[in-house]
Symmetry: C2
Subunit: 655 residues, 2 copies
């Protein structure tokens, strides 16, 4: 049946871009999220003999789509003077397939003689005319994508110019650019920076980087990687993970034979394919085979490879729909959280088991049985930390502890009151107010909160806890006692294009906003580094609200040539003594899913040479006049960007 077969294409998304909705963080994942682990396999019909039988063949094999030349002859056409080279004389009939097949199953192959960067003027000009002729014809047929000829290494400016002209918003054309994945005999790291530039793997990436920059990072331009007999080490081509890779081209001659004469692949090839299958990458079989079962044998092997891949873990399963899915960070201070959001939070097993540990140790340090004690949970929400406190009291046999729940969201207070009656024996004192506004003479021995965002302080934990500090005694314990945010430079072309394209009229705003996102197709260029730290109770409260401003200068080091699309942000927190939480990759609390990282984009991607120092500046700003907290950021070296988000013009957190 035809409907099974469909090229995975961005065309629909591109058409739909104005309707693309930015979801709030912690909402349910989008219903329309694609099933990402489906295997899509295509066959490249470069042999003209097979054409008549093409569709039959792929249906028999079970392939999803095919690559198909548009023009009957693969020879040079002189379009400058020959009227018999016009569309009606050279193209395959549009009756060859039915309309639905053209639209869903056929990726057009641009004639391979086309050489847009030829130094022969006549060849170049005819190439340009032929390319435009074939693109126009494929538009007419509504093909989902076009495979271009391979660009010449670092000499593809004229190819860029022609593609850029064809990539108009109206054309709806999708181009796939084939780039060979070359293995370097000498790994890049050991060499002089000037030598790196000449490396094959590096040259491949730089060719693509040049081409997509020339085309102004068009969302309709993708790359397909052609594997060879040797697969480079993962280190050598991990940059590709950040790029819009649509497919891997697998020539049949990279396959080996197993004992039964069936096709098989070397272990490095298998690892590469499995890695890219996790990134929505389709597979394209190409080349002539003498195998008695034909191309079907290779197809069968790939299906087997896919079937035998390890099943995703529960966390991977949970996170999959959120991969590279941009969400607006929460603003729990300005907006009241929804019940469903509380629910998602409360479901995290790791986070609350860490709080259990921290609270139990703190209680045992502070309280002895029968002695009176006061504990306040500020921002109690629907009560998960109250549960932790009550569990600790039971465990330590403490009978004389007053537990306060302070919460500003009146809707959550409803739940707290319910819980108090039905679960807590009315032992909890519920205060329905903003912790910054509560006037009381009661002083807490222990103050507990969970106000942290993906970037630590970004949900204004410091400002809230400043307000609660007046409830403290001189020697009170605060949980968490400190938290630190982390920053790392990242390459993430797909994500950056996503952010840029959210609303075509607000590009600047969208590229100066922080997003919560589960990074997937990305490449972290250097290990994360500490950005801002906050300690509680604060010792600088008497310096006024500006004591929560921060300024951090970080220096990262690039190994390869890179393009930076922004920064990934993380945090870790010390709850009490050695009990911690972390979403920083180096120290990640395995199994915890409450926080995805944060993404700070750059307005323009920046090219970074190999082995350079990237100097990054981050500011946390506080204005009590406008009741805003916001971040600004920039790169100052090796080249400078504008400072992003001045005065919080595009993105701020309301106090």
């Amino acid at each position: 049946s035809i409907n099974r077969f469909q090229v995975m294409s961005d065309a629909a998304q591109v058409n739909d871009s104005e309707n693309h909705k930015l979801y709030d963080y912690h909402h349910n994942p989008p219903q329309e999220a694609p099933q990402r682990d489906t295997l899509y396999i295509a066959v490249d019909f470069d042999s003209v003999d097979l054409l008549d039988d093409a569709l039959n063949t792929i249906e028999t094999i079970g392939c999803n789509f095919l690559l198909f030349p548009l023009v009957k002859t693969q020879e040079f056409r002189d379009l400058r003077t020959n009227p018999d080279q016009e569309v009606p004389f050279v193209m395959y009939s549009d009756k060859l397939f039915n309309t639905s097949s053209w639209i869903n199953q056929v990726v057009g192959k641009i004639s391979t003689w086309i050489d847009l960067d030829s130094t022969d003027n006549n060849l170049r000009i005819n190439s340009e005319l032929a390319m435009k002729q074939e693109a126009a014809w494929s538009s007419h047929l509504s093909l989902p994508a076009l495979l271009t000829p391979s660009p010449k290494t670092l000499q593809c400016s004229n190819m860029g110019k022609v593609l850029n002209q064809l990539l108009t918003p109206l054309s709806n054309l999708q181009f796939w650019v084939p780039i060979p994945v070359v293995s370097d005999s000498n790994p890049a790291e050991g060499k002089d920076p000037n030598d790196i530039i000449e490396d094959g793997a590096n040259a491949s990436w730089k060719t693509w980087d040049l081409l997509r920059t020339l085309c102004d990072h068009s969302k309709s331009l993708s790359v397909v990687l052609r594997l060879g007999l040797d697969v480079p080490s993962f280190k050598q081509f991990e940059r590709w993970t950040a790029e819009p890779v649509k497919a891997l081209i697998l020539p049949v001659d990279i396959f080996l034979s197993d004992d039964h004469g069936f096709p098989t692949l070397s272990s490095p090839h298998q690892i590469t394919i499995r890695h890219f299958l996790k990134h929505d990458v389709q597979l394209i079989l190409t080349g002539h085979t003498d195998h008695p079962e034909g191309i079907g044998a290779y197809h069968q092997y790939l299906h087997e490879l896919h079937r035998l891949s390890p099943a995703p873990s529960e966390q991977e399963q949970f996170e999959k729909p959120f991969h590279d899915f941009l969400q607006v960070p929460l603003q729990p201070l300005m907006d009241n959280l929804l019940s469903a959001t509380y629910e998602t939070f409360e479901r995290d097993p790791i986070k609350y088991s860490q709080y259990d540990k921290a609270i139990t140790v703190a209680f045992s340090d502070r309280f002895s049985s029968n002695e009176k004690g006061i504990v306040m949970v500020v921002g109690a929400g629907r009560g998960p930390l109250i549960n932790c406190c009550l569990r600790a009291c039971v465990y330590l046999q403490l009978d004389n502890i007053d537990v306060y729940a302070i919460e500003k969201n009146p809707n959550a207070v409803v739940t707290l009151k319910e819980m108090n009656i039905h679960r807590w024996n009315n032992k909890v004192k519920i205060i329905s107010t903003d912790m910054r506004k509560w006037n009381t003479k009661i002083r807490a021995d222990i103050l507990i909160s969970e106000l942290l965002g993906s970037f630590g302080d970004n949900e204004l934990s410091p400002e809230c806890l400043d307000g609660a500090q007046k409830f403290l005694k001189d020697d009170s314990i605060v949980i968490p006692s400190s938290y630190t945010s982390y920053i790392a430079p990242v390459a993430c072309q797909k994500l950056w294009m996503e952010a840029k394209g959210l609303n075509p009229n607000e590009e600047q705003k969208q590229l100066e906003t922080a997003y919560v996102v589960k990074f997937h197709s990305f490449h972290q260029i250097a290990p994360s580094q500490k950005c801002f730290t906050f300690d509680h109770p604060s010792k600088t409260l008497d310096e006024g609200p500006q004591h929560n401003t921060r300024y951090s200068i970080l220096k990262f080091h690039s190994v390869l040539n890179e393009t930076i699309h922004g920064f990934s942000g993380y945090f870790d927190a010390v709850l009490y003594k050695n009990v911690t939480l972390s979403i920083n990759p180096q120290t990640f609390s395995t199994g915890m899913f409450s926080w995805f990282p944060i993404y700070f984009p750059l307005r323009k991607p920046i090219r970074i040479p190999a082995k350079s120092t990237i100097e990054v500046h981050f500011w946390r700003n506080v204005s009590t006049q406008t009741n805003k907290v916001w971040y600004e950021w920039c790169i100052s070296s090796p080249e400078s960007t504008p400072i992003h988000n001045p005065n919080g013009r595009s993105y701020f957190i309301g106090l």
Copy 2:
């Protein structure tokens, strides 16, 4: 009188930017063009003692404006906790000067203790608060500009952040950033590229380059250069010519004493000051003097220096109002030229004397007396080339030459007919038609035109002459016989900001459009190189309209660190044999004013390291479907820009 004194400020222009009109090329210069050679001198009142008398002093001296501290104490203020550091307690009274003086004569000096990039947190945070406090106060007073503290060399990111916040569209603040002009003991050229970076002159420029990039090239951020005892060679600081330099700061201790004890300056200082006076730069005297006549003596010397500067030539006089003044290139094929435009063209003495020479030599090569001959002037306009032809006939005593004037603009034909009756004895045959459409069996011996634009082919001379080629015999002479365009990379911050700011809603369009402009505040980074050449009669006409497309790859070499803002374009033409016209700087036809260069901007300025190769691509595109000719351009190395103007989306020439 107060009105004489006024800081030359961009404030008015900034307010007015929406009304800024882009003039068509060859219109009369703008009436409101400022008198650019006026001398503006300020005195820096850094001594608080003088304050009460300040205005009196500058009126007595004859100065134009003064630099004035805003805050009574120049000592550190702790604004984080001290309410007695609020505006009402620290600022000079707004009654010190009257309103008109504040608005026209006072540049505010931000407190010099302010150190926005201090590693001492308390000093940095207080610096930020103090800077904002002083900026807010100067807004309140409507001062024309504020002098900032000097940025720390290459460590001024936080200063950038604060300035960037203050430079909102609403604030209307103008900041002047003082940068010392440092002389290098070893000239940059002889050194290793890595050493150049550490040079003083280079570090000064890089500090400014960093700061203005961080501030996103704000039009309200300018630089003032502080001269020292040693002045660097012109080569070392010619990059500053491309920057928005508002003033030179002249400390009194850089002056020498002449025989009578009066202040004087060394010859390098004089050359520097004269150079910058040609670029709207104001002078600021600073420092304490023991001279018996006080600061007035220095002021008098500067006036004398200015008075004794050589008077501008006639051509300089003519061009002055056009300096850095962006104009839309002519489109004589789509639009009919105005009478005034023809008039400006006809006034050029050099151009037509070159045509006289070329025509006379061609006539004498081709015709002998009494023999019949046919000459066609295509695009005859109001007839200047007809005059050349008739003069040549008289000079060579040729009586039997038929002169045809072919012109598509019916308004110009009216003038031609008038001329024929009153000046040419009805000897000229006037054909009122587009040369591309005239069907005739007459064949010309000599075809003459003047269809060239600033970039040679940019007024579609190639396409027009293709249409006229059918009037030729096999051995006809065409004047001009060839023309070549030239391209050079330029730094021109002021001009780029001008183009960017023409219409805030069409930034992309404005930065993908070519402008005709008399470059003034600019720095050509490398010598120009040949771009496109056209020969007539064309030998490739049978290749169809695409034979006029061109693609050129040029490689330029940078000496210093540079920021490229686009390309200057020029042309030269061979009229006949060795008779040429040129606006290419290397071969400029002195005295010719018909063509100003063309400017191709870049959407974002690109930083180029010292001693790099800049690879530039230019395309000339022709579409007969849309009747358009357009250019596209990009840089592909050392880093890549997007290709500008795809499909002529922002700028094209109509066929």
